[in-house]
Amino acid sequence: METYLQAEALAKHFDGVAAVEDVSFVIHTKEIFGLLGPNGAGKTTTIRMLSTILAPDSGDVRIGGHSAVREGDEVRKRIGVCPQELALYPELSAFDNLVFFGRMNGLPGRAAKARARALLAETGLDDRGGEAVKKYSGGMKRRVNIAIALMNRPKLLFLDEPTVGIDPQSRNKIFETVLGLRDEGTTVLYTTHYMEEADRLCDRIGIMDRGRIIAVGTPAELKRQVGDPGKTTLEEVFLRLTGRSLRD
């Protein structure tokens, strides 16, 4: 199996407090890798370092053979980032948001428009693509947030809690999109604190707690550490590893 991303001993402190410590893992090409962990575990901080937004205090990341620390430009060409926040312009229409970020990615105007139209259709927003995003439901906004990250056809897509607080219909639509992307050959890093979601969607999962990755494996491998994979849940895995419930 080919490695697309390799994180080595990543660390980040804020005001002396460790947000991420000694985080190492690999993501294989064309897999959906889940980072599962409670609030404050360090998932977002990790993604920010992987996506060149935040410089790690120590450690390095290689993405598609390039260092995120030293070859930021090369890495940025290969990635799409969907942040936890709705990082878009609510006054603009979905279409304009997509075109704007596409242009910022370096797409020529016509290509950006074509790509925006295709993505709106793919995410089921084509009939309302011309409306200001602020009029959308939470789930629709989330879909736009993801679509923006897809404008440059990334090889590696970062999705930071893309399904927080949305309706089941939008959630299913997002699952469909993510699975479709993998089938087309995109590698995905997906963070969540919903275990069922990670279980259902991810090929492999890294469980994160207090800034560290405490276990990595396929859902079945992780469950086997606790008991019969057919009968246990990731919740029980987390409980066993940390002594705490994931929902705390």
Binding site: L88, R103, M104
Partner: protein, 375 residues
């Protein structure tokens, strides 16, 4: 960098508001065509006359003026001969009107031959009116509230009509258009206001992480900053362009002998204001502090910088403080060019100072700017 298109509403706000303001204040200043002297039994400029308020004399003295008292006839004579360019006319009851809180009127009588003098007189009258107004409001308020200070009366006081009004009269042919003064003042105030408030939207973009998103899309931090600066400057320039057009075509404003210099000063002021907005965004952490500081800065720098009354009638120490604001340098240049007949070369120092403001603000912004929100 490339275009950020957004926010049609705030642009409308930026354009309509200053016009409404300039319009309203100009109306209050509006001249009428009656010859001077029809006003019954009025005393002429300042000093001693039965109960002429001493704090007004003091105000004049503060500003470096000595009150020269004449009779109405004497003053009109002098005006006719061209010895003086105009005078302030206080009504007989003015001195008593203030302590009792009833309405009073200051008249400005000018020959109109010397726009500088006209402007000066109007400025003084306005400043005096402002002062008298405060005193009178206090008097009225104190009197009304002394008995039964209930909420209704408090709100009644706040609804009082203007207590002191200004009237400007002209004897000569050449009209001095008061909007030549008011429009530049309100224009600088609002251009700066809008640019400063723009800081809030940058902070908001930082909070919603669109700035980070731009970085992860491959846009350089410096380009983002430059783009924000250009957008802010573009807004200011649009504001200025539209307002000057309205001024020239609808309000027959006079840009003076070097309209080009007026345009250059306008552009430089827009750049300095834009740089201030970016600097503000770089210095604050939250939307809330961005907008309150923007508000505060705009509303204190405007009067200090001569947007509400001409700076040259202010006391020296105030003028000195004023020179720390970009407004003062822009307004001074506009007044010189449009009212006092200065040429472009006379306002080069003003232009250079505005450039310096832009550079200093921009440099601070560059050093302090962060793309990610603090936690």
């Amino acid at each position: 960098m490339r275009i950020f298109w957004r926010d049609r509403f705030s642009l409308t706000f930026a354009l309509i508001f200053p016009l409404v303001f300039a319009g309203a204040f100009t109306l209050a200043w509006e001249e009428d065509d009656e010859p001077p002297g029809v006003a019954p039994r009025l005393t002429v400029v300042a000093a001693g006359q039965q109960g002429f308020p001493e704090h007004l004399v003091a105000a004049l003295n503060d500003s470096g003026w000595t009150a020269d008292e004449r009779s109405l006839e004497g003053a009109l004579d002098a005006l006719g001969q061209g010895d003086i360019g105009g005078f302030l006319l206080f009504p007989a009851g003015f001195g008593t009107a203030i302590p009792t809180g009833s309405e009073a009127r200051i008249r400005v009588v000018v020959s109109g031959k010397d726009p500088a003098e006209t402007a000066t007189l109007e400025g003084i009258a306005r400043a005096l009116a402002g002062r008298a107004q405060t005193v009178m409001l206090a008097v009225r308020g104190a009197r009304d509230l002394a008995t039964v200070p209930d909420a209704e009366q408090v709100s009644a006081v706040s609804r009082l009509p203007p207590l002191v009004s200004l009237e400007v009269r002209r004897t000569g042919e050449r009209r001095y258009n008061p909007i030549d003064f008011t429009l530049p003042g309100y224009l600088t105030m609002f251009v700066f206001f809008v640019a400063a408030l723009g800081a809030g939207s940058i902070v908001l973009e930082r909070e919603t992480r669109t700035l980070e998103r731009l970085v992860s899309s491959g846009v350089r931090a410096a380009s983002i900053l430059a783009g924000k600066f250009l957008v802010a400057a573009g807004k200011g320039i649009t504001q200025l362009a539209v307002l000057w057009m309205v001024g020239v075509f609808a309000l027959s404003i006079d840009l003076g002998a070097s309209p080009g210099a007026v345009v250059v000063v306008s552009l430089l002021f827009a750049l300095a204001s834009a740089a201030f907005g970016i600097m503000l965004a770089a210095m604050v952490n939250t939307m809330r502090s961005a907008s309150s500081i923007a508000m505060l800065a705009s509303l204190t720098l405007a009067p200090l910088g001569g947007c509400w009354w001409p700076l040259f009638i202010a006391p020296d120490w105030l003028q000195a403080i004023g020179r720390l604001t970009p407004h003062a340098w822009a307004n001074d240049a506009f007044n010189r060019l449009m009212v006092f007949g200065a040429s472009a070369s006379d306002v080069v120092p003003n232009m250079l100072t505005l450039v310096a403001f832009a550079v200093v603000f921009g440099a601070i912004a560059l050093v302090r700017f962060r793309l990610s929100p603090p936690t």
